[in-house]
Amino acid sequence: MTAYATEAAHQPAEDTVSAWTVACPSTRLRPDDGVAVLLPGGRQAALFRTRTGELYAVDNIDPFTGAAVLSRGIVGDRAGEPTIASPLLKNVFSLRTGRSLDDPDVTLDTWPVHDDGTTVRIDTRTPTEGAT
């Protein structure tokens, strides 16, 4: 996905400070819930907190339908692996790796997330490219 690489590259790789995008106040993101976050350059992340407190950000666009809806899916687990089920056609993805559990060839980009107790931020320097 070269289109992604060029968009993400508008942030200098060494600029570690400005690459953290403010997503929302910590209280806004409740356990097992998700929100959509607009990223610099126009991409969108689906940001989740699981019931055990882990934070994950994956691409908000459901690759099976092209709609930006993953933040509105159901958080859960499959045999212990934290997952998100797309609200449209119920395709399930691993939150850790972004990998589709329905089609091993499909993977979502993921970004690191940090919660300092007040604010949740997403590190948007470069996504971990799902598909490679």
Binding site: D32, V35, T52, D77
Partner: protein
């Protein structure tokens, strides 16, 4: 492309076309079917169920017309010209063929006794024959005689009984079903059939039918000089293959009729084939469906270049008479040299069983079961195999019951469709883990159904517990979880999974638990943690569309709406740029709302007096109505008023699946109430209540639960019905499937709802009263709560920025989704194209 013409659209002709269409992936054949009956093929084997409530539609095998298949019904092939390879039909059409298939079946044989053609004399083969018999019954026929005591004759006699007639069977042979069973079994069967109220006369020849003063059949004369007075005669003494076209075209036919075919189903002309009851193979004309289907499969294989052969077939049968079990299989008459019989004949319990064994008593050759044919499913496939145990033990009631273990892989489990145990176990290994899946992939069990118990048994043996577990997180069924929640008073998913489940949950158990919590009245569905459990549409109280936008469906109870309210809907749609459409549920749907627009849209609607229509929920959708006595000249009750009262009573009720209803003001049924989970039809005296209907994937008409009810009783019954459904159904099980799966079915449901057989009616009614008392509009509650409103934002960090991937174009003057532009990623990313 080559041209295949099939004459006859009966069961076997249908099977051929289906099999060929499935195999001819290359599109080598174009198929033209001509059938003389006024409809496409139907299940003749199940014909008698027509008297038991099945309709012509239920019996239909489906229309195979498509790009490569033309089906012409109501058209008879009149002649075959083998020289020019054409068929002409009675409508004057000429059909050229490269290959011709005769699947013309057979016709009932009517013996030439005097009076056989009087009005009042019938045969039993087509839906039209059955309609004629029904018409005679309606016109007042009280007594009916069936001539012929074979399989079909007994079915016909039972049909007469079901039509309320006094039924007689006259059989020439010394006992019933002479073709299938022996004397001992026959006399026991005669007793059982008599117990059903059918009079049996065996060893009796019929000599003439005499007319009464009105010129209709009135009396049957018998060879012994006696007679039977009757209003109607049905001939069922055998069948004659319909080989008349073949004879006229000079094709070879068998000594006793039937178009001669070889093991490839080819006639004496290499371009002409014959299959089914019209064909004569090695001197035999088979009058059963299984051999016909086998021929159809062989011929389909040959037509695409295969090497399949037909070398004869199983003639096992099971009688489908209500309440009488009769089965015969393999060499039932013991015609194999030196064979041995093992017989249990117990007149006291009404059972007869005979096994025919090889001379060394090791191999099963055939058998007969009367009175209790449960062993049929296991014994029939064992024919030709070594016996797994003591033969006597297999047929005595206390004896061992045979499991699927005992069968070799080559054993035929489904004889109608020639499916072996090996094929079924392979299908199970391939992941077909329930009976419907096995039926779909192997066809086993799709005809007479007698092998279905064996399919279940094979699933059990394969270790497939028909698991009730909801998903990997809960080992309980939905009904069990509901009881747990009721008993423990647990009110959150977290507490429930902590105490009774494992892991974090998923998109299956979370919505199921959310629905249980909501059914039991646990407040607003977007309250706190509950919001994260809700399925796609419940999550934002609107239906998500393909592009991530939503539809908005305000409730319009009974479909009745004032002009002012209509204008508000129009204004809202115009102001927010929404696509509008009248739904199939008598209300209006507004499409294309962005997530962040929903609160503003609903503010306007709530102000105008609208409420949520729950189009998103597994809950009551609409109660449709017809205008009834309000306007209609035929109406006998106020259907609109009742529909509105019902919709207002049950609105917001969460259930295992969606609920639909309708009320019609008279039997003309303009509201289509019988297509609903609960439907009400007005009568002169009150209301008839129907339950368990639906459209959708498997359409089904609702069944009558109770008649002529006054409104308070009607509402009490509906309360009980709905609450009982909510408490005991599985997740996503519509009422139709719920009733079908219920032990005792509709009868049991009637006992619970009408007679309160479980003593729970008061409890169910109280639960419904609590629902009615606690109902509040979900959308009004969201608008009043900032916490819930926060869910309706496009982005947490940019609440006012619309999702840039959503775009619209215009079609027929309205906005519709456009493919995502710019940033949208319409194509599926795979490892391949990512590199």
């Amino acid at each position: 492309m080559e041209e295949l013409v099939v004459i006859g659209n009966g069961m076997v002709g249908h099977r051929l076309v289906e099999a060929l269409r499935d195999r001819d992936a290359a599109g080598h054949w174009h198929i033209t079917v001509v059938g003389e009956e006024p409809r496409t093929a139907y299940d003749r084997v199940a014909l008698s169920s027509y008297f038991d409530g099945a309709t012509a539609d239920d019996l239909s095998l489906g229309d195979l017309s498509g790009p490569a298949v033309d089906v012409h019904v109501n058209e008879r092939a009149a002649a075959i010209d083998r020289a020019t390879r054409t068929v002409t039909t009675d409508s004057g059409r000429t059909l050229p063929y490269d290959r011709l298939v005769l699947a013309t079946g057979s016709s009932p044989f009517v013996p030439p006794v005097p009076g056989h053609d009087l009005p009042g004399c019938h045969v039993y083969r087509t839906i039209e024959d059955l309609d004629a018999i029904t018409a005679a019954a309606r016109a007042g026929a009280r007594t009916g005689v069936v001539i012929g005591g074979g399989l079909l004759g007994l079915e016909a006699a039972n049909a007469l009984r079901l039509l309320g007639m006094d039924a007689h069977v006259v059989e020439l042979a010394p006992h019933l079903m002479p073709a299938q069973i022996d004397e001992g079994a026959g006399s026991l069967l005669a007793g059982l059939v008599s117990d059903l109220g059918v009079h049996v006369h065996t060893g009796t020849a019929s000599t003439a039918v005499e007319a009464g003063p009105d010129g209709r059949a009135a009396r049957l004369l018998l060879a012994d000089g006696s007679h039977l007075d009757t209003d109607l005669v049905v001939f069922s003494v055998g069948i004659r293959p319909r080989d008349e076209l073949a004879r006229a075209a000079g094709l070879a036919v068998g000594e006793r009729g039937g178009i001669t075919i070889d093991d490839t189903c080819t006639t004496s002309d290499a371009h002409v084939h014959a299959i089914g009851e019209a064909a004569c193979h090695r001197g035999t004309v088979y009058g059963l469906i299984a051999p016909g289907n086998a021929m159809a499969e062989v011929l389909a294989d040959r037509l695409v270049g295969g090497q399949a052969t037909f070398t004869g077939a199983d003639t096992s049968t099971k009688l489908k008479l209500l309440g009488v079990d009769v089965a015969s299989f393999g060499d039932a008459h013991g015609r194999t040299a030196d064979c041995l019989d093992v017989v249990v004949n117990d007149a006291a319990t009404g059972r007869y069983a005979k096994l025919v064994l090889s001379d060394d008593a090791t191999t099963l050759l055939g058998g007969i079961l009367v009175g209790d044919a449960t062993a049929y499913a296991t014994l029939r496939p064992l024919v030709g195999s070594p016996l797994p145990g003591d033969p006597l033990a297999l047929i005595t009631p206390q004896g061992e019951t045979l499991g699927a273990d005992a069968l070799p892989d080559s054993a035929q489990i489904c004889s109608c469709n020639a499916v072996t145990k090996g094929t079924i176990t392979q299908a199970i290994c391939d992941g077909n883990h329930d009976v419907p899946a096995l039926k779909a992939c192997t066809r086993a069990g799709t005809s007479c159904g007698s092998c279905v118990p064996m399919l279940k048994n094979l699933l059990d043996k394969a270790g497939i517990v028909q698991s009730k577990a909801l998903c990997e997180h809960f080992a309980h069924s939905r009904a069990e979880l509901l009881e747990i929640v009721r008993a423990t008073g647990i009110t959150t998913f977290s507490a429930l999974i902590e105490a009774h489940g494992t892991g974090a949950g998923c998109d299956i158990c979370k919505p199921a638990v959310a629905s249980i919590l909501a059914s039991l009245g646990n407040g607003h569905i977007l309250e706190g943690e509950q919001a994260t459990l809700q399925d796609t549409n419940d999550r934002h109280l609107a239906n998500m569309q393909r592009n991530g936008t939503y539809s908005v469906v305000p409730r319009i109870p009974g479909g009745e709406i004032t002009p002012d309210k209509l204008i508000v809907i129009g204004e809202v749609a115009r102001d927010f740029g929404l696509y509008t459409k009248i739904t199939g549920g008598q209300r209006i749907d507004l499409f294309g709302a962005r997530l962040e627009q929903l609160p503003a849209i609903w503010t306007r609607l709530v102000e105008a007096g609208f409420e949520s229509g729950h189009a998103y929920g597994k809950s009551l959708r609409t109660v449709k109505s017809c205008v009834g006595t309000t306007w209609c000249r035929y109406g006998v009750q106020d259907s609109v008023g009742l529909a509105i009262r019902l919709e207002e009573r049950y609105r917001g009720l969460r259930s295992p699946h969606k609920l639909k209803s309708a009320v019609s003001g008279c039997a003309r049924e303009c509201a289509e109430a019988r297509g609903k989970d609960f439907g009400i039809i007005a009568t002169d005296h009150g209301w008839n209540l129907y339950v368990g209907g639906n459209g959708g994937f498997t359409p089904r008409h609702a069944d009558l639960l109770a008649s002529d009810l006054d409104e308070p009783t009607l509402i009490r019954y509906i309360d009980r019905f709905l609450m009982f459904y909510i408490r005991t159904a599985d997740r996503l099980q519509r009422t139709a499937a719920w009733i079908e799966a219920m032990d005792g079915g509709l009868e049991h449901l009637r006992e619970v709802v009408v007679e309160d057989s479980l003593g729970i009616a008061a409890d169910l009614e109280a639960a419904m009263d609590r629902h009615v008392d606690s109902y509040a509009d979900e959308w009004a509650a969201v608008l009043a709560d900032p916490d819930k409103l926060a869910r309706f934002q496009s982005f947490a960090n940019a609440p006012d920025t619309p999702d840039p991937t959503i775009a619209f174009t215009t079609t027929r003057d309205q906005p519709v989704p456009a493919a995502p532009v710019g940033l949208g990623i319409p194509t599926l990313r795979t490892r391949e194209n990512a590199r």
